[in-house]
Amino acid sequence: MTKRIFIITIIILSFYGCAITASQKKAVNQLGQASEILGTIISKELPILRKDTIEMNMISLELKGAVHPHKLDSSFNHKTLNARINAANALASYGKLLVAFVEGDQTEIIKKNSEELFANISEFNTKASTADFNKISDKYTQLTGKPFVLKTFDTKVFLSVNQSIQGIGGIFQKAMLFYYHYKKAQYLKKIVNAYKDEINIICYLLMDDFSNNEKGLIRDYQNTMDILENSISKIRFMKECCQRKTAVKGYYLLLENKNRMNSVSNSVELTLKGLIDANNTLARYLENRKASNIADIKYLTTKIKDLTESINIISK
């Protein structure tokens, strides 16, 4: 009898050993929150940038600027934008999922966010264009110095992860709480490992989009502002009152959008970089926790602290 109790105790303790510690929970929670907030900000920001682009182009058109009337949204077309919104939503679902894993009993939220993450990642991979993947490849090489090898998105792998997550919180797991926590830790590791590369791919594309020096959406937005600026510069020689009024309206719109673009682009780009670093560190850490030392968790905490600060700046 004593021997049996001893064995059961050992099993329970070993399960507990595999569960997540308080400091790890804190790190995962903060990384999750950062990812969720960033994803939400980006998905809200993109339609605003599109609206600005159309407004600026309409004024340029009124002033006979170099704008194609059938392409007022420029690169912010529905196809491009939808792929980005799926990407940003995937970041937000990933964040919510991480948070749900380390907070109390969030079984239903875990299942819901796992479904959402799977749906958004799958949609993103369907909607992203070849040009998008070329941009991802360029950004990856630029940041890591290594060539980017694009793996075909295998729906089955992610579907299987999602299906296994849907099995979390069964009666047995709920009755044996220690086993439930053990399973959550296992699932967390599975999620982070399965989605790490996909989350990074999304971050590379969005970094390119929000960088002033690349070929993404912000660069296109800058071009639209230049066209507007060039159109309103004619005010010097404008004689019609109506045209002068439009030019003045364009001038104020330009000032407003310039400030907006500068404040959003750099901070989002830097924050995405921070998210990649923190996510990679977390994946490494979860992959080999026994071999990890205190320096790993310290590094992760620092990365997440930087990330949280960047998020606070963007959220203002």
């Binding site: 600027g65 170099a66 420029s74 690169s75 040009a131 070329n134 070929k215 660069r219 296109d220 071009n223 230049d226 066209i227 600026e229 060039n230 510069s233 004619k234 010097r236 020689f237």
Partner: protein
């Protein structure tokens, strides 16, 4: 890279445009800036092979035109020659992007 050269040329032309003392010169420069804008957009949207001789020549031509624009900003009597030079460079880039 060509896009960097186009950006620099564009910024210089903006100064020259604002300094232009006749409507005709002003309009010509404005139109050249629109063309450069279009070229920048094409470069952003398409994958242009940066390893060709034509690409290198057009990039160099853009770089070489800049001191002339700089000089016209200082001395507006050179504006017409500069406009002609820039027009030639823009055509060279245009041929590459077609």
């Amino acid at each position: 890279m060509m896009i960097d050269q186009l950006d620099k040329t564009y910024e210089q032309l903006k100064i020259l445009r604002d300094n232009a003392n006749t409507e005709d010169a002003f309009e010509k420069i404005r139109s050249q800036m629109d063309k450069i804008n279009e070229q920048r957009r094409i470069i952003i949207e398409k994958a242009i092979d940066g390893a060709t001789e034509e690409y290198r020549n057009a990039t160099n031509a853009l770089e070489e035109a800049r001191p002339m624009i700089e000089s016209a900003i200082e001395d507006l009597s050179k504006i017409e020659d500069t406009i002609e030079k820039v027009a030639a460079v823009i055509s060279q880039v245009e041929n590459l992007l077609v």
